[in-house]
Symmetry: C2
């Protein structure tokens, strides 16, 4: 013990524009001895999320940026291989934010969640439906968007991890749900599998005209993941007292640190004209209420009302290129890197 | 009776850019006979407001635009000269939205408010502190902005009719209040007379740098009347969970109907990063609660905590040019046109 070598992706340079592998350094480092209360966790899964791109920039953001030279930040699930804390056993499955590395030496206090070993859900579900993703969709839609039965909900990034769940919750709440996505496969998935009422393929359709057709009564709630011109089309069609739950602005992230500022929403005046509300939220602000979300999401899933999919990339070495799947739209479902063997996968197979 | 001639400003052409007198037609029209329930009201005061420019455009807006050929819409106070309604007496002082004309033939049901004849306030106060202006400041700040004691409130258009009241209510609620205005006279007025904590002259100062200095703890609430680059400077400095009460976007109104869209807020991403809330509102949505606002505003005025000023232009014929005082910033206080003699002015003199 203590002689094994860790492998890590460290931030080498802040990207200007698209993320390249060259922005990271692949580092081999010895694993330090555990202190009292320390754990050695072997990473099984690493979560890749659009917000990673924000953390890589040094703009004023919702938490501290990753510093150049540091291990890249990321949500992880791992198995405890050594424990100097009496409350944590070797073999425990734990979840935290321990970064893009094969092993993490951490304090037991940084464990956010201990996961069950005999669950009907695979471990990856805890990075999606039963993790921050599911909670983001749940609180963003219900607490911020506050949709009412019969209203029209538009979801951007609708085939993405969060958007696909938000749209299905909208259906559960009795809304007409229209999803905007970037491929015909994604559009088919959200309508045929997830039972959205309609989809718009922003790469092939005139979004404004398609939304006019699919939202004949206007737009009451927008679950916004994207920003940019699509958001302008939505603002053009919002109803009086519309609510915009601002979850993300993924169309901007690649250029978020450009000196030349990104254009703002041109139809911003409609926030005034329609007495609309735009509200940004970050899921960690709802941390104390996560159990409420997971209880509801499990119940809806058991009733067959919620589906999700994961897109698992093999190998930590591929993380620095795989993260771009989120920005070119090639991921299909929650993007996860499998870093090492999942001890629960046999149980499910 | 019935032979007198009315004089009216009718919308002749929708402005593209600045309002010119040529966009109106000065029309002389006979005054029609009253029907049952009808009133003949002689206009005493006409309210000029930034939103008039919106009504002159045909963009999708919060109420129907004024149609070309119609009398220009405007809030008025008048005296009843003839009444075919038993509940309204000749000589009554009435308030409504009866347009840019010397006389209005209206139904008694369109009277929004009957004003007292022996009041400590002049009639013009009912177009400002005790009218939609005061209610806008009251509900916009307290219901939408929700300032807390000790927070920093920024008010744009701070020397304007609404902004000056909103800022004073902010002081009453225990905020640090920083007002942005467009002349040194206005800045002196809001700090020296209205007791704002600080002012920023956007015509002579670097607004971002001045706000950084005057808001050392960041910005918690923005009472937004202006939009444009000043709004971007504010978004740059908002705190977590900031609230933006979006009351107006006066910097955009002159070009609101341009084909080329107005730039949106470049720092829009901070709504996400800071979990901020932007909420548009229109005061008429609070109509049922106006008595609550006026009761509070009267109480604060009586206690010496609220001051206001009016800028009265003489003569309906000057309305079409005077309205531009709102957009070039040359008005000092609530802009009102005196159309005919005020029968209460002797009582106050």
């Amino acid at each position: 013990m203590g002689k094994r070598v860790n492998q890590q992706w460290c931030l080498k340079a802040r990207p200007q524009g698209q993320i390249e592998e060259s922005h990271f350094e692949w580092r081999r480092a010895p694993i330090p001895e555990l202190r009292k209360g320390g754990l050695l966790v072997r990473t099984i899964y690493l979560s890749l999320d659009p917000t990673n791109r924000i953390w890589m920039s040094d703009i004023d953001q919702y938490m501290a940026p990753v510093q150049v030279g540091e291990v890249m930040r990321g949500g992880t699930i791992g198995v405890v291989e050594e424990s100097n804390d009496p409350k944590v056993a070797v073999g425990d499955l734990v979840q935290g934010v321990w970064g893009w590395q094969e092993f993490a030496v951490i304090s037991a206090g940084s464990v956010r969640n201990t996961l069950p070993k005999n669950d009907s859900f695979p471990l990856t579900a805890y990075m999606g439906l039963l993790g921050s993703i599911g909670a983001t969709a749940y609180f963003g839609l219900l607490d911020v968007g506050k949709p009412l039965k019969g209203e029209t909900l538009v979801v951007t990034g609708a085939a993405g991890a969060v958007g696909s769940i938000a749209g299905q919750i909208g259906k559960i709440k009795g809304c007409r749900v229209v999803g905007i996505a970037g491929s015909s496969e994604k559009c088919r998935w959200i309508t045929d599998e997830l039972k959205f009422d309609a989809s718009v393929n922003y790469k092939t359709e005139n979004v404004l005209e398609a939304l006019k057709e699919q939202c004949p009564n206007g737009i009451d709630v927008d679950f916004e993941n994207v920003g940019g011109t699509i958001f302008d089309d939505i603002l053009t069609l919002i109803n009086r007292n519309a609510r915009i739950a601002l979850c993300g602005l993924i169309s901007q992230y690649t250029h978020i640190d450009d000196q030349k500022p990104f254009p703002g929403p041109v139809m911003f005046r409609n926030v005034l004209m329609k007495r609309a509300r735009i509200e940004g939220f970050i899921v960690t602000d709802f941390l104390s209420r996560f159990p409420e979300a997971f209880s509801a999401l499990r119940k809806w899933h058991a009733a067959g009302l919620l589906k999700y999919r994961v897109d698992v990339v093999q190998g930590l070495e591929n993380a620095a290129t795989a993260v771009n799947k989120l920005f070119d739209g090639s991921n299909q479902g929650k993007l996860i890197v499998q870093v090492s063997d999942d001890p629960t996968s046999e149980m499910l197979a």
